[in-house]
Amino acid sequence: MNTASLTAHELMDRIKIGGITPARIVDDVLARAQAVNPGTHAFIRFADKITAGEGACPLPIAIKDNICVNGSLTTCASKILEGFRPPYDAEVVARIKAAGGVILGSANMDEFAFGSSCETSVYGPSHNPWDLKRVPGGSSGGSAAAVAAGQAVWALGSDTGGSIRQPAAFCGVVGLKPTYGRVSRYGLIAFGSSLDQIGPITKDVRDGALLLNIIAGFDPKDSTSVNAPVPDYTRALGRDVKGLRIGIPREYFIPGIQPEVLAAVRAAIDVFKAQGAQIVDIALPHTAYAVATYYIVATAEASSNLARFDGVEYGLRAFPAVPRKGKLIDMYEETRAQGFGAEAKRRIMLGTYVLSSGYYDAYYLRAQKVRTLIKQDFEKAFGACDVILSPTTPTTAFRIGEKMNDPVAMYLSDIFTIPANMAGIPAISIPCGFDGAKLPVGLQLMAGPFAEETLLAAAYAYEQAAPWHQARASL
């Protein structure tokens, strides 16, 4: 069996019985990563020094390019951060290193995580390992493509509106967005501070639980990180789903979903039913407002967070050829004009607009109120069920270039993933089949705040009964 196609727990088992050494795993996976990267472009760069680690989990990992790695280029796939090497490790990176993890390199992403296709990366798009003409999803598209193509044992992504789950669905891997506050964001370059969360992208659910064990937990350096005990998430795996109440939100089963996606998700409901889960019809009535709410709240926060990129401290510094307003203001404006790509500019402008005097109440405040309604929908729903089941995305992976000129169409590919971020709840995408073009379909499960164990137990039960995750893209 090819090392690069094995899961983390399979590799750990082999290390334990002496079947393979950590050094050999790093060599094999790196060789695979470099061999197929010209096709997938999952990595935008490999780490300068890659040496086998020692520790509880000495496996190679891909890190999304918005998570700081001490001394290594970290650019958010943006020109404005070209040459930036953070002088410290993000908390998640520090925890991975402490467990012996080996950082293979930086995974491609949409610039500043602004996108659903990886096409806004200044380094060019990544390609879906299942069909190189299609997008891997985004914004953590490089992380998902790397795992799907065997270029990394597992990966870290970040999820603001679906950026872990949507690419996981498109690439046929498992993507977990933990509860807001479960994982420290210290060293994650901020996009939407009330929404961002780091999470694992893995080949199966057990790996997701293992990686969550490593990265989850309180961190005094992140004031939004929650000081709550971290269970051993692998112990939830194998729990019986008999009697588990699985809510089916009628608003997520709208006409317009690709029929093959709908069929795969309906089949998944039957799998749960056969295992004795109780299927409950639920309502999340404000679902239709989630995307609009998100694009006001997230861009407002992004425009504020991205104000720090002005040529003063790090990355790019540029001046106009002809002075305009005075040297310092010119430096700010020209650095940002040259440094940000079109989508980043669009979001900065939109966010600035909705926060500007005269529009704040009409857009930003209203969106925050609708966010309350969306959150209340979930609170009510979790009174009637334990887990909510839906498609992760309305379609399978779309073609590169297909949605680039229509921002609203691109934004709508996150229609089912955004609500979990709005409510701060954990959600997972797991493979649940393929469409006619042999593209993976993703099944999304959501649970209440800090109910990752319930989520993982349900996901694992499904995966054992319907092992779609075992399929590998042929590259």
Partner: protein, 178 residues
């Protein structure tokens, strides 16, 4: 026979100027441009299947931004959204607030994009939120302070090691007072 059917569909489609997708957003079709597959849901009803097929076989018109949102049952068609509210002046004003220099064509394109997105966002006006408390943070946590005791952190040398330009442990910027 298929072609004949498709052609008749095409003729019929071009006579209409509005398409409604399954999310309840209405789109304007302009005849002159090449096609963009606009939105996810052109898949499953027979009606939509034909649109999808046409896209493959013909250069059908560009489907542009949503014109109005009808997911509230069509009661509030426009939700108070004013056409052409994002003017060149608005874009210039916002770009100066955002410290973002925009070149001419870029500003025009952004004005159109912002208008399309805000038009989509105007669907929020259909909800009565007068008595709803805004959510700025999903967890019920209060501001967090650490104990005021020294702890190891970055040294100034480390902190400035990747600065663009620094001097005496400070970032150096162009002279502000000329």
């Amino acid at each position: 026979m298929w072609l004949k059917l498709l052609r008749s569909r095409l003729n019929r489609s071009c006579r209409r100027t509005l398409w409604e997708n399954n999310y309840g957003d209405t789109y304007q079709i302009q005849r002159t441009d090449l096609v963009h597959v606009p939105i996810i849901p052109f898949h499953n009803s027979p009606h939509n299947f034909q649109i999808f097929t046409l896209i493959l076989l013909y250069k059908i018109p560009k489907i542009t931004r949503p014109l109005r949102t009808v997911d509230d049952g069509g009661v509030f068609f426009n939700h108070g959204f004013q056409e052409n509210m994002i003017t060149a002046e608005t874009v210039n004003y916002i770009s100066s607030l955002a410290r973002l220099h925009l070149e001419g064509p870029e500003a025009v394109k952004l004005a159109g994009d912002l208008e399309a997105i805000l038009h989509y966002a105007a669907k929020l006006n259909a909800l009565d939120v007068a008595s709803v408390t805004p959510t700025s943070h999903v967890l019920n946590v209060e501001n967090v302070f650490r104990d005021d005791v020294p702890a190891p952190g970055l040294t100034p040398e480390q902190a400035f090691s990747f600065a663009i330009e620094s001097q005496d442990n400070a970032y150096k910027v162009p002279r502000i007072i000329e």
